[in-house]
Amino acid sequence: MAQYGFYSDSSICSGCKACQVACKDKNNQVFGINYRKPYHVETGGFKVGSKGTVTHNAVVYSLSIACNHCSKPACTEVCPTGAMQKDKATGIVNNDKTKCIGCGNCASACPYNAPTINEELGKSYKCDFCADLVEKGEQPACVAACPLVALDCGEIADLRRKYGKVADVHGLASSKETAPNLVLKLHKGAK
């Protein structure tokens, strides 16, 4: 039984969102629905001196986060129809669209904001690890897109061996909640 996951290098990520749009393109998704949602986290502030001089301890970093295909997924727990399932062979979490009723429980429960409801179609949509591409031997669209090669994917055990075990940073939900299959490299100013 495998468990797949993502690696995200926040030490070099600029937040360009090529991953977001590559994902959108691959999945033919509509405005307002994205499976990978990079965002900037801001910390620190400014002090203005007597002559108007500006000192600061501002640090800004970017986190590119999609579904972390958690080991204890919150979304499957709250799904009333059993549409949202964790695949036993790969650990990938996704919903069966024929069973999904678009209630939005999964979207509310996910601490990573991964599922999004398409109100028009009445279904929940989320990252499926580009299972169709991976099955053909390709990488998920987001990983294959990153201009700075800041994303990687694979069996989580391999990723942890290669990149470490950090999955917590200010600006992201605690990994204790859902045991995400995510490895982060932190920005040097991040805590």
Binding site: Y7, I12, C13, S14, G15, C16, K17, A18, Q20, V21, A22, D25, K26, N28, Q29, V30, F31, N34, H40, E42, G45, F46, G49, K51, G52, T53, V54, T55, H56, A58, V60, S62, Q85, D87, K88, T90, I92, N94, D96, K97, N118, E120, L121, Y125, D128, A131, D132, V134, E135, Q139, A141, A144, C146, P147, L148, V149, D152, C153, G154, K162
Partner: protein, 786 residues
């Protein structure tokens, strides 16, 4: 890269679970949708290159099935290649959204309401091309060929084959046109850098920064702009543990990715910081005296040109021998807001890191003081001997003279010798006598006619990116002034709305071209036509050929060539022009999957600006008047213009923080080229709108004082106009400065105030001192909650 070995059964199962409709209507056309569902022919993958005004020209692959682009991909990092990794940026990833956007223009249309009102009627191509031929004949007979003008058209400058160039070719066969010069991107630097170094392009190859001990990005944001290979080499530099300092009023995305330290600096005060850094470097004896003595003039009284008072030297200026004021960090901090201690440590760190690359972006020179700023940064490189060495950086324009390019499309010779600065075009349309040599006219003493015809072909400069849009609007709405305006575009842009004739253009996917980068990176890409145009969209070459026929010059215009044959000709001309390079033939290139050609190392990876002049100064003079690097320029000195002094010393800028207008308009507004657009191109694409909203960055301290919260709608105004933007309260901008992405599409309300956040209702069309150039970034404004 971690290799994924999938359990096939598991993935089959997950893949099966998504075989329910994912395509939700609006994104793709029915044709694209059908192709997704039932592919009938094998997929063909094209390496494509856009013609947009983007310095990247990255690797973008268009997957085409049944004549429809079904997917965009880029390259694996481990793929065998002669190129550094150039994976498509966010704009490249959205090409399919651009290509199949339902708002694309489909038919030729003529204006039926008042100009600018936005009322159009569909016409045939025969009517459209006759309208052009007839108006050109009528107006040329009345006013002469110098009344024809083609304005800035940046959405196609990235390719060698464009409607702009083709129309110039046609005009050159029939009397010519009024030309323009000056790059609104980097024209101020390009004009002034020769006063220091003799040439405009003083950049080295980006690969050379791998030899640097410190990289400073000064007002440079390649993470969003994408200058050739810049991001590849900056990330490699970071991987090696290299230190990067970003000097910028904004905590840019480049600062997020690369900066070890961010130094916020008040816009237009760069020279105060530079002066104080120079003072510290000299005072601490960290300057390279041998370099200064060997290669430069103007450092001290000994090397000033004859007849110039010794108090005009850099040393005399910095140490107060001329005006009694030492240019200490304490002097500078009150101006530029960087604390004195920080100025001191930054100067010392830069001077001690040998070699160090201080790279200046194009934003700081797009200011009212742009020429001084551009020259100033070179002074720090000169004092520390960072010129002409690998890992150093000369300053000035970051564009490298070592780059090679594709040959140009043969467009003939323009019989009209007069050429105006692009900043003169409104005056040339209002009253041509206002445009004199001292205003920017070159090639003639005077203009003979007003501009009466305007062609905006693949551009949205005319009524969107031009400064002082309310003035522009008044000019364009007066139909007696410019009598005929043609726009050729993919979308109904704000500029297209002000045209009399709007023509539906093809995209780069629908035509042949050869594309290159700007600034950095030395390579060309052969772009093969990958899909057919739909509806009545027509390639530039086809409709301009029709106009040529109606003007009686078709044979001379086409020379019997098809679109593809012109590209073949340009490709062959490029091969001949670079005979030492092993450029494949056109047909060889087409037989390859990879359509990129990288010029050799000396042109790209290893090029160091002024290496020869530094290695062997006896035999390699700088092409300045003195043959040396001119810290002091006698040519500028003789101009006696306080705005462009002989040294690049700090002078308070108009529309800057020391302008008396700050009493009414206390905020400095700057713009940046956001990752989701090239200038204004892509503004209307939903997938890219989503990437970054049109917001105004405001510092938490300023927001608190004004009781502004994120999401509040703000009215930003000055005496030139007003626009509305939502606030984003953020630590990514320094106090006193506000910023918003440039390129939002102008959308006036009934009061004439823009509702989309287009800052060009606030920018000035006042020209810079030396280049007669643009100052799009120097904007004083007031802010209120709407």
């Amino acid at each position: 890269m971690t290799k994924i070995e999938m359990t096939r059964r598991g993935f089959m199962k997950v893949a099966a679970s998504i075989s329910v409709p994912l395509v939700a209507g609006k994104l793709t056309t029915d044709k694209a949708f059908a192709a997704e569902i039932a592919p009938a022919t094998p997929e063909k993958v094209y390496q494509v290159a856009s013609t947009f005004d983007c310095g990247g020209k990255c690797t973008v692959m268009a997957h085409v099935q049944d004549g429809v682009v079904t997917r965009i991909s880029t390259k694996a990092t481990d793929a065998k290649s002669n190129m550094p990794v150039m994976r498509a940026c966010v704009r490249g990833r959205a090409y399919r959204n651009f290509q199949y956007d339902l708002n694309r223009l489909k038919y030729p249309m003529k204006r039926v309401g008042k100009r600018g009102e936005g009322k159009f009627q569909r016409i045939t191509w025969d009517e459209a091309t006759s309208m052009i031929a007839d108006n050109v004949a009528k107006l040329t007979a009345k006013y002469g060929p110098a009344s024809r003008f083609l304005t800035v058209a940046t959405s196609q400058t990235g390719g060698v084959f464009s409607s702009d160039l083709l129309m110039k070719r046609l005009f050159n066969l029939s009397g010519g046109f009024l030309g323009y010069y000056h790059s609104v991107s980097v024209g101020n630097t390009a004009k002034v850098t020769p006063y220091t170094y003799g040439i405009a392009n003083s950049g080295s190859s980006m690969k050379t920064i791998l030899n640097s001990k410190l990289v400073v990005l000064w007002g440079h944001n390649p993470a969003e702009n994408v200058f050739g290979h810049s991001n590849f080499y900056l990330s490699e530099f970071k991987k090696k543990g290299g230190k990067v300092i970003v000097v910028d009023p904004r905590y840019s995305d480049s600062a997020v990715a690369y900066a070890d330290e961010w130094i916020p600096l008040l816009p237009t005060t760069d020279n105060a910081l530079i002066d104080a850094m120079a003072y510290v470097i000299i005072n601490e004896k960290l300057h390279n005296q041998k370099f200064i003595d060997t290669y430069t003039i103007g450092f001290d009284g000994q090397t000033l040109p004859e007849g110039v008072d010794k108090k005009e030297s850099l040393y005399a200026y910095l140490f107060g021998e001329k005006d009694g004021i030492k240019k200490t960090p304490e002097w500078a901090e009150a101006i530029c807001k960087v604390p004195a201690a920080k100025i001191r440590s930054f100067a010392i760190e830069y001077a001690k890191a040998k070699p160090a690359a201080m790279i200046q972006g194009w934003g700081p020179q797009r200011h009212s003081c742009g020429e001084r700023t551009a020259r100033g940064m070179a002074v720090l490189a000169i004092l520390t001997g960072n010129v002409g060495i690998k890992g150093g950086w000369a300053g000035g324009n970051l564009g490298s003279a070592g780059r090679k390019h594709a040959s140009g499309l043969p467009i003939g010779t323009n019989p009209i010798k007069a050429s105006i600065n692009i900043m003169n075009w409104m005056d040339a349309a209002e009253d041509h006598t206002r445009v004199r040599p001292q205003d920017g006219l070159v090639g003639a003493d005077k203009l003979d006619t007003n501009i009466k015809m305007l062609f905006s072909l693949g551009g949205n400069y005319m009524m969107n990116q031009n400064p002082n849009l309310n003035k522009t609007k008044a000019l364009l709405e007066d139909e007696s002034k410019i009598e005929f305006i043609v726009s050729h575009d993919v979308f109904m842009t704000p500029s297209a709305k002000y045209a009399d004739l709007v023509l539906p253009a093809t995209t780069f996917l629908e035509g042949w071209n050869i594309a290159g980068t700007w600034g950095s990176g030395s390579y060309i890409i052969l772009n093969e036509k990958s899909v057919e145009p739909e509806f009545e969209r027509r390639h530039d070459y086809d409709w301009i050929t029709d106009v040529a026929r109606k003007m009686g010059v078709e044979k001379a215009f086409t020379e019997g060539r098809t679109q593809r044959q012109w590209i073949e000709l340009v490709w062959e001309n490029t091969r001949k022009a670079h005979s030492s390079e092993k450029i494949p033939t056109f047909n060889e290139m087409l037989s390859r999957k990879e359509r990129i050609f990288l010029f050799d190392k000396s042109a790209d990876g290893d090029y160091v600006a002024f290496e020869q002049q530094i290695k062997d100064p006896k035999n390699n003079k700088f092409s300045t008047a003195s043959g040396k690097i001119e810290i002091f320029s006698k040519a500028l000195f003789d101009m006696k213009n306080p705005e462009i002094p002989a040294l690049s010393n700090y002078v308070p800028a108009w529309e800057g923080p020391q302008d008396k207008r700050v009493a009414q308009y206390p905020f400095q507004l700057i713009t940046w080229k956001s990752k989701n657009r090239d200038n204004s191109t892509f503004y209307s694409i939903p997938a890219l709108k989503e990437v970054y909203p049109q917001v105004l960055w405001i510092n938490p301290d300023d927001a608190k004082e004004k009781k502004i919260e994120s999401g509040d709608l703000l009215r930003i105004y000055n005496d030139r106009g007003a626009t509305y933007i939502k606030a984003e309260v953020t630590t990514r901008i320094m106090p006193g400065v506000v910023a918003t992405p440039s390129g939002a599409w102008y959308s006036p309300d009934e009061k004439g105030e823009d509702r989309n956040g287009n800052v060009n209702v606030l920018t000035t069309d006042r020209r810079t001192a030396l280049a007669n150039g643009n100052a799009h970034q120097s904007i004083l404004v007031q802010i209120e909650k709407a």
